[in-house]
Symmetry: none
Subunit: 233 residues, 2 copies
DNA sequence: TCTTATCTAAACCTTTTGATTTAGAAAAAG
DNA sequence: CTTTTTCTAAATCAAAAGGTTTAGATAAGA
């Protein structure tokens, strides 16, 4: 929970100076906030964050100089407790999705009423996530469509299940982009044996080459025994 | 937008008969809803959905007989416009995450005030997503931690950005597991030209074969030009 | 205008892959 | 105690992929 005795320290990053001034005034109207800095440059913003360790950063993610999404990453890599609220002019599903994925704690449209912004700051500061209902819906639309393939593949008959243990080991190395010779070396078997296994894999997965075998494996939840594969979006 | 002249048809699935009765009464208090069926069995519930095509299904996802998450998938596979609201006793991040990923439009805790449930039905019926603030935060906690690994790959300089437009087109076809001849056919250029492009791609991505090129592309957020970004309104 | 980047293409050659057949040994299943 | 599965391996052959060099056409930029 948030300590109301201390002022919340807020940093503003927006390439539009006018907008910057507007937001600053708006926030300063509230006695419990303190704007510790404003800047039109993402790179400068990152430096200010390093220096001042603000509680909240309001970050315009539609900036020309540096990609806003990248900036989110850069800030999060600092490993501070600073929380990021993304500011954007667009309610683009993909943009919202990516911003949130990269660790933004809130997303506010510039067109939204100023009271929403204060609301967002308050919520995020107290450890919650702030997403207006419209954007939540947008987010989930995108989330569910991109996640759909994963669920589709996890059910039904998966040809991967027909593979033997050895074939699985071979396929795992195939998915790492390793050639016959190296696979033979790693499994300590002859290259021709590897070829035999690979051919059997092809038949079972109903493909004709390694690329398609790898693609099948990755898109059908093939789990390598050591590393956890991140199934893409 | 929802048509207020028609009653919203709701189906209830909960293995606890008492709870089922309670919810039914609660919903029937509201004149704009109609409970078209109640059942304690997930499998039976799916059949009822096939028969009655309800607008909303309130689905308890903590059932012994059949896994609630599986039931969500089964229902969605019917491809009806039926919207699912997950009911659960637990505010478990992973559970919420998976339920939403599988296509639930809302998630309500059984411990929540009954007015929240009505609220959820109303929101979901009108095409929105309903997640109480507490659960939204839980969801994003989980979402952001599981997505973290992915973001790692998209940071730093991405060699994919060095590719020309044509090289991107070729890479896109490579990631579909297509061979030189077919790529040449699709782009209406000669096979040797394709080879030239592919070689340039290899150099730029610092790999030696197509499999590794594809793996690089997939793990570094290569976006095929076909991928549809949902841009609404 | 000169230069650079991009797209196109061929020739030549080497390496890798993939397809097919055959077959022995060991282990598991019946 | 057979039969089947799995893992091993070799021999061939054909096809695809990859490496390298050279080069013309065009468009974009300095």
């Amino acid at each position: 929970m948030r300590d109301f005795n201390k002022k919340l320290r807020v940093l503003l990053i927006d390439d539009n100076a006018n907008h910057l001034r507007g937001i600053k005034e708006l926030i300063n109207l509230e006695s419990c906030y303190e704007v510790v800095g404003t800047t039109t440059s993402a790179n400068l913003g990152v430096n200010l964050i390093k220096k001042y360790h603000p509680d909240i950063v309001l970050l315009d993610i539609n900036m020309p100089e540096k990609d806003g999404l990248q900036t989110i990453q850069t800030i999060n890599k600092l490993n501070l407790s600073t929380k990021i609220i993304a500011l954007s002019g667009y309610d683009d599903s993909d943009l919202i999705y990516r911003a949130m994925k990269l660790g933004a704690k809130g997303y506010v449209l510039k067109t939204m009423a100023s009271v929403k912004l204060i609301n967002a700051i308050e919520e995020v500061a107290s450890g919650k996530i702030y997403l207006p209902t419209v954007l939540t819906t947008r987010f989930f639309e995108y989330f569910q469509t991109t996640a759909k393939e994963e669920s589709k593949t996890s059910e039904g008959e998966n040809l991967l299940n027909t593979l033997t243990i050895r074939e699985n080991e071979v396929l795992e190395l195939l998915t790492e982009g390793i050639n016959y010779k190296s696979i033979a070396g790693k499994l300590i078997i002859s290259e021709t044996t590897v070829k035999t296994h690979v051919n059997n894999i092809f038949q079972k997965l109903q493909v004709n080459d390694r690329t398609n075998a790898v693609l099948y494996a990755l898109s059908h939840g093939f789990k390598s025994s050591k590393t956890n594969v991140i199934t893409t979006v």
